[in-house]
């Protein structure tokens, strides 16, 4: 998809290509593109799989929120309204502009070293580090890193599971949940099937075990820092 911006806001889009050949979709299945944000949703009919016809206009200027629009492509069997294929949360951001999984701010935290606040997009976590601590310490000091970052990961995952509601492990409704679940998978840890504490089938023990495994694996990635820290301790008078 290509997006046209005006004053930094998406005003229309083009669906250049939809490659569905491998999906064996029926040629008469309907193709829709939806632009959405909060209370707003605008649907565009792109015809059928066998005969894709872009609408005359993909104008988005009548939508009140164009800052954070996301897009969804749906292929639907019109006879029974079943979704045959979909791609969701397509963001018009350029990949280079994507935010990291954890935003870090330096703030006045009084006598606290760090704190996680859930004030980013959709309640995304932000790590606040006491601004009295020199930035290079926060970035690379072995002691700081091995003490703080695994605890931060544990805090975020615990909050995500036990305070928030992870609606689905495969396709969570909240983007930052998806990012942190992917973080776990990238570390080689598969999340439990149910992580919504309000849902039947939620196993508190399994959830805690998963958090432990992620923190352990993440700590392994800081192994060299831990060794540096140990050497420092050994060298200390």
């Amino acid at each position: 998809m290509n997006f046209t911006r005006r004053n930094d806001q998406v005003v229309c889009f083009v669906l250049n290509k939809l490659d569905v050949d491998d999906l064996a979709l029926p040629p008469d299945a309907r193709v829709y593109v939806e632009a959405y944000h909060r209370t707003e949703l605008k649907r565009f009919d792109f015809g059928t799989v066998g005969n894709m016809t872009p609408p005359l206009s993909t104008d988005l200027t009548d939508m009140a929120y164009r800052d954070n629009l996301k897009f969804r492509i749906l292929v639907v069997d019109a006879s029974d309204n079943k979704v045959l294929a979909h791609a969701d949360r397509i963001a018009p951001d350029k990949p280079a502009e994507r935010k990291s999984i954890l935003e870090v701010n330096l703030e006045d935290l009084g006598n606290q070293i760090w704190q996680v606040v859930y004030e980013g997009d959709e309640g995304r976590p932000i790590l606040c580090i006491n601004k009295s601590i020199p930035e290079e310490i926060a970035r690379q000091d072995p002691q700081f890193m091995v003490y703080v970052y695994p605890a931060v990961v544990r805090e975020i995952l615990t909050n995500m599971v036990f305070v928030e509601e992870v609606t689905s492990v495969e396709d969570p409704a909240v983007d930052w949940h998806a990012d942190w679940l992917q973080f776990s998978r990238d570390l080689g840890i598969t999340p439990p099937e149910v992580l919504n504490h309000a849902e039947q089938g939620f196993d508190k023990g399994k959830a805690l075990e998963w958090i432990d495994e992620v923190v352990t694996k993440f700590s392994d990635t800081l192994g060299s820092k831990f060794q540096e820290y140990l050497q420092k301790l050994e060298g200390a008078p």
């Binding site: 959405y36 909060r38 009140a64 079943k82 980013g120 396709d171």
Partner: protein
């Protein structure tokens, strides 16, 4: 009457300090933030009544809708304008705290969060009621979100409206209204939002998030959606409107 204003960063900071102070001492004096550099007048000029009493969130939303429509203010200038909503909460602070008897714990009930932060945004006491009311296709079912006094939290707003996919589908809101709102009493059915209650709105959100992966709910009628709901919703389906 006073001219509608938009709270600026310095005003928000002072309002936040005031919130901290008034929680400790309900008689703390509210600072005057109706001038630069704390706030600026909204354009086009709109007059609002500081003394206006609202019986419900619906009353408040309808009043604002009338103010905005009278001058032809555009949605895009209003809806994402967090400074405007913060200032309105400041203006009607006494009313939004039931004369300071019900001061809520989170600053975001009064200071409007970034609109992209759905969960924080939707706990604001002024903006979400207006936003829901302002959508013509949601308005017939808006009592679900607007039935209670302006100073109270509304569970449906926090549960349902904070989930953007649901509120962008009027047919889904119609289903929620049908299942969980008792029109004869003008309020939600008992335990409609309770945790651990079979078929409550919490279950609905969970089940619906699974259904929307399989069905094109946008194209479905409310009746078709109701028919898809599993047996845990039977009691709610049978309840009289």
């Amino acid at each position: 009457m006073t001219a509608l204003r938009t709270m600026l960063q310095q005003g928000e900071n002072e309002f936040r300090k005031y919130l901290q102070a008034v929680r400790k001492n309900p008689s703390a004096l509210r600072p005057d933030l109706n001038s630069s550099p704390f706030s600026q007048e909204f354009s086009p000029r709109i007059e609002v009544d500081e003394a206006k009493a609202f019986a419900s969130k619906l009353d408040l939303a309808a009043y604002l809708d009338n103010c905005f429509r009278t001058v032809g203010a555009k949605d895009e200038a209003i809806l994402g304008n967090k400074g405007l909503w913060t200032w309105l909460a400041y203006l009607w602070f006494d009313q939004l705290t039931n004369r300071r008897n019900n001061i809520l714990k989170r600053d975001e009930h009064y200071i409007c969060a970034e609109t992209s932060n759905y969960r924080r945004y939707y706990i604001h006491l002024v903006s979400p009621p207006y936003e829901i009311y302002s959508k013509p296709d949601l308005r017939p079912f808006s009592m679900l979100f607007l039935y209670n006094p302006p100073w109270e939290i509304n569970d449906f707003t926090e549960r349902v409206a904070a989930n953007q996919f649901l509120t962008s589908h009027a047919n889904v809101i119609q289903v929620i209204y049908r299942l969980y709102f008792d029109q004869s009493k003008g309020k939600p059915r008992p335990r409609a939002t309770s945790r651990g209650v079979a078929g409550s709105v919490r279950s609905f959100i969970r089940v619906f998030q699974q259904l929307e992966l399989t069905y094109d709910v946008y194209s479905m009628s409310p009746e078709q959606i109701v028919d898809l709901l599993p047996s845990e919703f039977d009691l709610w389906k049978r309840a009289k409107p």
